[in-house]
């Protein structure tokens, strides 16, 4: 022992004993080695101390803390829901009715007669080629033009065969028909006079020559072809052939203001080509129908337009007015008429539930509302949850995969290392954005639910980003394995597990934490980018990226800044915060760092 002390005292500078001896005598020490003066800090405390000394890191930390509170607590504090749509009651110029000017002939079939679209088409052909007769489905029709755009179609039913040869006259009735004496005489006189058509007892007969004989036919009204349209005042009112024929005759002749049909009296009042037909009662007259060349359709089938309104509209159209007023039980309203070709549209201000789109910031919505009428602030909070969770889960995923594969590669080396590193190379060769775009469209076409989509997104991002971590872990382990302290640890004969967990892992962890923290920012950026392109988180779920993607035009960008600027700022601050913290951690973990 003496020997030892002597040899130490030869080198008092390094030897602790010297100082120790000195300290025994001098109570107040000025030595730097004084135990009292040097506080011993645990490794965690040391890192923490260095971290909090880094101002930028603290700023980053508070940014991230704020983001967490904002996203995870804010969602509970906000009175609104993530997908709550705000509406208000306002008036809106809505389509009320549409009117088509009719230039085509439309037919009305007489009671008990056959006349359909096919016959109508034949009629149009015959009319255009100037024929008086046409046949359809074995029935012969004849055309009688009553007026411009008013045709009566008659149908001839054969009644009897008539023989008339050199003064000899014979008549043979068809089966089921009888020929009266009066009719016989009328036929004879018509034949003598050479007439083909005659009228008797209010019925029209025709004689059609067939070889030497004639066929006597009874002519009956089958249909009416007209361009005018009768619009009844009520749905159940009877507007049959007789009524229409009588009404049209009256309107076109313009000679009498009243007519009778089906045993009822009607009165016509015409003004500007629009005729209103009134049913005459004992003392008063009730509006019955309106006849014009316009077809009017209300915008919804539940709506019924009164005859007065129709008359007012048509009058306005005839007078080429763009605007008219109409008084109904709801009060006086203003209507506008717009015309496209033959179609007129009547619009009016209708009270409606409207979505509060792009509402400017107010007390109710601190950051206004977006294009869907949802509260921007609330969506930012929920979006933060998704963006941050995706960041953390993806980083966790990539670190787990990265540590396992990188650790295997680094620890076992040889062909394991070779294989894993080639896999890493392959992953690094995959172009990230095109892959994500393809995955996004695949998920679109498979109709993946938006909530499941978020998980797939995490999975893909995690699988795509582990190679960097694996490479780092492998490199670290390879270099650490050759470090002398690892060899020394092996020489001391401690367990392999201890060597790995006490010596290897703690030396990898700091880089890992730094990489993970910096990676978090990257993942949040990736997520935003993908969501912006519509490939990531989908509506109705909010994420900071797809909030920004809601603003796609320059107009929205300049006018609705409150939608995209806050989301952009949140992304910017979060990524910045993670980078600050990452840098701060790197500096704090590095004990060799000097400040």
């Amino acid at each position: 022992m003496d020997n030892n002390n002597n040899s130490r005292n030869d080198n008092p500078k390094e030897s602790g004993d010297y100082m120790k001896n000195a300290n025994e005598h001098i109570s107040v020490s000025t030595s730097l080695d004084d135990e009292q003066r040097v506080k011993v800090l645990s490794p965690g405390m040391l890192v923490f101390r260095r971290f909090i000394r880094n101002r930028l890191a603290i700023v980053g930390f508070f940014i991230i803390l704020f983001m967490f509170l904002f996203s995870f607590v804010g969602g509970f504090l906000t009175p609104y829901d993530e997908t709550e749509v705000f509406t208000y009651v306002g008036t809106m110029s809505k389509e009320y009715a549409s009117i088509t000017q009719n230039t085509e002939l439309r037919y009305t079939v007489a009671e008990g007669k056959e006349y359909n679209d096919g016959a109508h088409a034949q009629f149009i052909l015959a009319k255009n080629s100037g024929k008086k007769f046409f046949t359809y489905n074995g029935i012969e029709y004849s055309i009688i033009q009553e007026d411009e755009d008013l045709y009566i179609i008659t149908q001839v039913t054969p009644v009897a065969n008539v023989t008339y040869f050199r003064g000899l006259f014979g008549i043979a009735p068809m089966e089921g028909f009888e020929v009266s004496k009066v009719l016989e005489e009328s036929v004879m006189s018509a034949l003598e006079a050479g007439e083909e058509q005659f009228e008797i007892q209010g019925e029209v007969y025709t004689l059609t020559r067939e070889n030497k004989d004639y066929i006597l036919g009874k002519s009956e009204n089958a249909a009416l072809e007209s361009t005018l349209i009768i619009d009844p005042a009520q749905q159940n009112l009877n507007v049959d052939f007789d009524f229409k024929y009588a009404a049209e005759k009256t309107i076109r002749d313009q000679d009498s203001g009243s007519f009778s049909a089906n045993g009822q009296m009607f009165e016509v009042e015409e003004h500007n080509n629009i005729s209103v037909i009134y049913q005459l009662g004992s003392n008063d007259r009730i509006p019955y129908a309106i006849i014009s060349s316009y077809a009017m359709q209300p915008s919804s089938p539940e709506m019924f337009l009164s005859i007065d309104f129709k008359a007012t509209v048509l009058e306005a159209i005839e007078e080429n007015k763009g605007l008219f007023h109409f008084q109904d039980e709801n009060g006086n309203a203003e209507y506008t008429i717009t015309r496209i070709n033959n179609v007129y549209t009547v619009k009016t201000e209708t009270p409606t539930h409207l979505i509060s789109m792009h509402e400017s910031p107010s007390n109710k919505h601190l950051l206004g509302t977006d294009a869907h009428g949802m509260d921007v602030l609330t969506r930012l909070m929920y979006g933060g949850r998704i963006s941050l969770s995706i960041g953390f889960i993806v980083v966790f995923l990539e670190i787990v995969i990265g540590i396992v594969l990188g650790g295997l590669a680094g620890y076992f080396g040889k062909w394991v290392d070779m294989l894993i590193m080639r896999v890493v190379d392959v992953f690094n060769c995959i172009p990230f954005l095109p892959l994500m775009i393809i995955m996004g469209s695949v998920m679109d076409s498979l109709d993946v639910q938006p909530d499941k989509r978020i998980f797939y997104l995490m999975l893909i991002l995690g699988i795509m980003s582990w190679p960097g971590i694996a490479r780092m872990v492998r490199g670290q382990i390879l270099s650490l394995r050759e470090q002398e302290f690892m060899i020394a640890a092996e020489a001391t004969g401690i367990r392999v597990s201890r060597r790995i967990f006490k010596h290897l892992i703690p030396n990898v962890i700091p880089q890992l934490i730094v990489l993970a923290t910096l990676g978090l920012g990257n993942i949040i950026l990736y997520e935003s980018t993908l969501s912006y392109f519509g490939l990531g988180v989908k509506f109705p779920f909010a994420s900071w990226g797809n909030i920004i993607s809601g603003v796609s035009t320059a107009y929205e960008m300049t006018n609705f800044w409150f939608v995209w600027i806050p989301a952009g700022l949140l992304i910017l601050l979060t990524v910045l915060g993670f980078n600050f913290v990452g840098d701060g951690l790197r500096d704090a973990f590095d004990p060799k760092m000097k400040r």
Binding site: N3, N4, S7, R8, D10, N11, E14, S15, G16, D17, M19, K20, D33, E35, V38, V40, L41, S42, P43, L46, W415, Q483, E484, F485, I487, A488, A489, E490, A491, T492, G493, I494, R495, R498, K502, H503, P506, N507, P591, K592
Partner: protein
């Protein structure tokens, strides 16, 4: 604390009593270590770097053998191979009667604490994430060398022995100077109660004043714990100070091996002569008669034929170029590998 010292001493005595064989604590027999060059999966090894090419020596308990030689001559490889930190290519390492390379993993682990190593670079040989107390005590605890209740006292004692203060326990390696770090490395080795320590150039990374402290510390500890050292160095003055025997290595071979006194008084091998002539003498008046070796050390991957030193030897003979010299014991305990001392060859002359 007294108890622990007593205990250490008794274990050392027990071990002494148990010592077997020819009095050597460690014997190295014809040890070879070749490193493959450019080993690839398809082509196999192109060639081998013969880092250690048949080295034989023995170290007695409580003595120090110095191993000197140029850099790259295989000194460190011998050290690591003795500890079985790298595999051997051929030969044997016998520690206290047991062959190190014949042990299975479990037995190897149990023998590990008894053979320790101190590295050249005190910066990379300490894990930066562990506090000093943990670095020193970790293996002690893991190998159950000291009862739990005595553990703290034991570590404190070891630290004091190595010139460290107990409050250093909770500090991290980066807070220490090079000399202090080397003390930590020594403490780590000493704490395992080893019989044998390989000192792999423990002072070459330190400045001269610290070197002396460390050397003296090693000597003190040797006396105190009855340690045996293999002291690897390229610095002859350091080796002279600490060693009992000295081995001179050249290109993977031991060319001369003798007691310190014998080798310094009468260096036989031309390489040893050249090496010793290069020791600086701190007196400007003394004229140095240096032997300048020409050329560089040949590649160990492609060593010269015959005597490996013949390309640079001042007294090279024809026979040196073709015939590999054998070990000749010129005096008792003074062995040299050189044709100059081969009586059969010199007779022919």
């Amino acid at each position: 604390m007294a108890n622990t010292i007593e205990e250490v001493k008794t274990t050392v005595e027990e071990r002494n009593n148990n010592e077997k064989g020819n009095g050597y604590l460690l014997e190295v027999k014809n040890l070879k270590k070749y490193f493959p060059i450019n080993k690839s999966v398809l082509l196999g090894a192109k060639g081998y770097v013969k880092a250690v090419d048949g080295v034989t020596f023995g170290i007695k308990r409580g003595t120090t053998m110095g191993l000197v030689g140029e850099s790259g001559c295989g000194k460190t490889t011998i050290g690591k191979t003795i500890l079985r930190l790298t595999d051997k290519t051929d030969g044997e390492v016998i520690f206290n009667g047991t062959s190190i390379f014949d042990l299975n993993k479990k037995n190897l682990r149990s023998i590990r604490p008894r053979i320790q190593i101190i590295f050249q670079d005190p910066y990379s040989s300490l894990s930066p994430r562990l506090p000093v107390g943990e670095i020193i005590g970790e293996a002690v605890r893991d190998n159950n060398l000291v009862p739990k209740e005595e553990f703290d006292d034991y570590i404190t004692k070891i630290m004091l022995d190595c010139g460290l203060q107990p409050y250093h326990k909770d500090r991290y390696p980066h807070e220490f100077s090079g000399g202090q770090r080397q003390r930590i490395c020594i403490a780590r080795a000493i704490a395992l109660k080893p019989d044998f320590i390989v000192c792999d150039e423990p002072v070459s990374a330190l400045d001269v004043s610290i070197q002396a402290q460390i050397i003296n510390l090693l000597k003190d500890l040797q006396d105190k714990y009855h340690l045996t050292y293999l002291f690897i160095s390229h610095d002859l003055s350091v080796v002279e100070h600490i060693s009992d025997e000295i081995g001179v290595m050249y290109l993977g071979n031991l060319v001369e091996h003798a007691d310190k006194e014998a080798i310094f008084a009468n260096p036989l091998h031309p390489y040893t002569k050249a090496l010793f002539s290069a020791i600086p003498i701190p007196d400007p008046d003394v004229k140095m008669n240096r032997i300048i070796l020409e050329g560089n050390i040949p590649s160990p991957a492609n060593p010269p034929s015959g005597c490996k030193f013949h390309t640079r030897c001042s007294s090279c003979m024809e026979v040196c170029k073709t015939v590999v010299p054998k070990e000749i014991e010129v005096e008792k305990g003074h062995k040299v590998v050189c044709h100059l001392y081969d009586k059969g060859i010199n007779k022919d002359k």
